[in-house]
Amino acid sequence: MTRNDKRIFVLLPAYREAGVIGGIVSEIRQRYPHFSIVVIDDCSYDTTAQEAALAGAHVLKHCINLGQGAAVKTGVTFAIQNAADIIVHMDSDGQHVVSEIDLLLNPLLSGKADIILGSRFLANQSNVPTLRRLVLKAGILFTWFFSGLRLTDTHNGFRASTREAAQKIAINENRMAHASEILHEIVRHNLSYVEVPVTVLYTKYSLLHGQKSSNAFHIVTRLLWRKLFLE
């Protein structure tokens, strides 16, 4: 089965990414012209939605800011409703390298696994700042302890899954804890997964704009709360 036979959707959850999002959408369109690109604008008050639409993306707009998890879920629902075979998740702040979508797609298309997870630590091409590296390593241990998954990276938003896997994965965490939730769902549904090395670019823009290391505390408390009281 080749990628031309598949309906491939690339999801870009975005919040205040004006000035960046248009370029990313254009690059994906240029490199992968038959892919459907979906930008989920999480109630940005800048021109994110307009720029994404101009560049040729399908744009879904949240009328209230809900968080990246909810945006991903909206994108997944839209992709499934539109008969997606493969769904790629990607950050919209330029941290991920567009050409590396191939690294996620190849093992998925050859049927190696249900979900392919990008890892910034499998090959050392990412310039991860020291504090972020420490927090991520702690996250890896936390994930191992709580879900039993022994990964080399967690909270990497660059991943791809089959339609069937996406339908099974329930995302209930609206904000950043959804990344851990996806890993727990992999275990819960016994989905097969493979990690592939990807690059995460830490630019001045992404460090200012992206997830803060201090969010880790919030993520851990959310996951514990959900496990204890909501599940």
């Binding site: 989920i40 399908h58 744009v59 879904l60 707009k61 949240h62 009328c63 209230i64 809900l66 909810a70 879920k73 909206t74 629902t77 839209f78 409703q81 209930n172 609206n174 009281f229 909501l230």
Partner: protein, 113 residues
Amino acid sequence: MVIQVLVTAISLFVVGKAATAYVHKRIRIPAFVIWALFWVAIIVVVWQPNLTDRLAALLQVGRGADAVFYLSLVVIFYLLFRIYIRFERIDSHITTLVREIAILNKRVDDTKK
């Protein structure tokens, strides 16, 4: 004397509010009765504090006021927990609505084209 009058006035005000809510059908009769009984009990206890000594003896706590304090804490924490769970549910409902609206709007936009 001042505290008794103050607590009685506040309690009566709250009972009045509950009665108005019931008249306007914002709450049902069981909720009104429980709420009214609770505030009437507060009025009774504030005028007859010795009554709480029996409660203290029952719970094997030294003073009546302490028994009321401990029980209040338990009730308040339980209510906080209930409110948090409720808040989570409302949050999840709002999320569902916002996500649905986003997808529906996209569908409407596409049909207009």
